[in-house]
Amino acid sequence: MRKVAIVGIGHGKFGVRSDASLRELVFEAVKGCLDDSGLSLREVDSMVTGVAGDEFSFGIQPSAQVHDYIGFHPKPNFRVEAACATGSAALRTGWMTITSGLADIVLVVGVEKMTEVPTSTATEIMGRAGDATWEYPFGTTFPGYYAMIANAHMAEYGTTEEQLARVAVKNHYYGSLNPYAQMQKEITLEKAVTSFTVAYPLKLYDCSLITDGAAAILLASEEKAKSISKKPVWVAGLGCGTDAMRLGDRKSLTSLEATREAAKIAYKMAGVGPSDIDVATVHDCFTIAEVVAYEDLGFCEKGEGGKLIEAKETYVGGRIPVNVDGGLKSKGHPLGATGVSMAIEITKQLRGEADQRQVKNAEIGLTHNVGGSGQVSFIHIFRRQ
């Protein structure tokens, strides 16, 4: 199989970007990505665009808005979608395009423009990522699904609201050090545990943000990568797993089988295990999701996720630094962009360009990106060489 590397990264500012439209957000990210790689779009063979919701962008073909605006036509571009894991699905598609031999250099774009609609509409759109026939009639929302996971986890393992809040405190701390983050603001434990309830027991600070933003990376085949970049970051393993649509039909309510399956495949392909990972970005759409991810990815034993954050083992300097870019919690979660943004953070870490957030000598990094309430999960493992 052909080897594939990340040879360029571009990250727009995440936030309430009332100054820019979907296509304009993409332009910023693509421009940054080309500058970073030293390539021009003429040298790029193919493109993949990740956008999760048409309902945010009022169009059924957001990918065309994007390739039109950056002038990429007539070369290949189409949209991929996997709810909140859309960005990782796009990266995987880009990787397949190169390994299949269809292209040598592929631009992977992820974007979402979520604040064009009010929160109640966004909540409704996202809530339908559950089962629109059998769950939605009970007023389910995204925070609602993860709240049900949280209550099950608390009942089974004694995980506490305070432990969950500690995830928010960590991620806000790192967000404060990330210039691209939506909320560059530290918070106290007190503030997190006393914030208003969104879906019991999850409170405001347990939730990720509603975000506008775009991110872009360039993938290249081995031969091209070596000539384009002095510090290519290699895609060493990819895993994808799925699970039942409805929470009630899952084997477990306290872990995501989709993640466990994806992790097994990705670790095997990369020839590494959880203890080899130097730095990870995991899907903290809600604080409980980060705790469950620690367990599902094998960073700790099942049920020990709350203790792992309590012991600060997921800070830089700890056993396994997680979401030291601020995570979805404070960097923001523009659905389609998130998976690409995660890969960018790992690329920076492995290149040694993460400034104050740098994990010393990071060699191997992992991204974990979940679609919906756990219906699909993508894991990518990257290596410096």
Binding site: P137, N151, G248
Partner: protein, 145 residues
């Protein structure tokens, strides 16, 4: 009975009868005639044996609560459109929901109208029943037995 009276948005399905039975006081599942697998929510097709010859069967209604929540930031439909959140006064006050396991592999989602969320516990014994709302919509409620 229109299926939408239960589902709110989805109107076309092969298991339309579910809504009729619910209005008639019964929570129904489907059972595959060929391999015997039971489905709740009901399915018209059986992925276990790829058959589509199903019969209807009433489910047991008592079981233990798998999990629950109370959603304070509701989707638009429940916040600003009719009907308002079921079991709430005009002033918006959300109602907890939960998932009840009535038999292994048969999870029933429902509203928990009569309880303070802090008193709801995973593992509680509860009973699921059909419920007709004032606006004619039909749904399911869970109550402590």
């Amino acid at each position: 009975m229109e299926f939408k009276n239960f589902s709110l948005f989805i109107s076309q399905t092969k298991v339309n009868r579910f809504a009729d039975d619910l209005a008639g006081g019964k929570i129904m599942s489907t059972l595959c005639k060929k391999c015997g697998k039971q489905y709740y929510p009901p399915q018209a097709d059986c992925p276990s044996c790829m058959g589509s010859d199903m019969e209807w069967k009433e489910i047991k209604t008592e079981g233990k609560l798998l999990t629950f929540t109370k959603i304070h930031v509701p989707p638009e439909h429940f916040a600003v459109r009719q009907p308002l959140m079921p079991f709430s006064s005009i002033q918006f006050e959300p109602c907890p929901i939960g998932i009840l396991e009535v038999e292994k592999g048969l999870p029933v989602m429902g509203w928990i109208p009569k309880m303070d969320v802090k008193r709801i516990k995973v593992g509680m014994k509860m009973k699921a029943s059909p419920f007709t709302l004032p606006d004619g919509k039909i749904t399911i409620v869970l109550e402590v037995v």
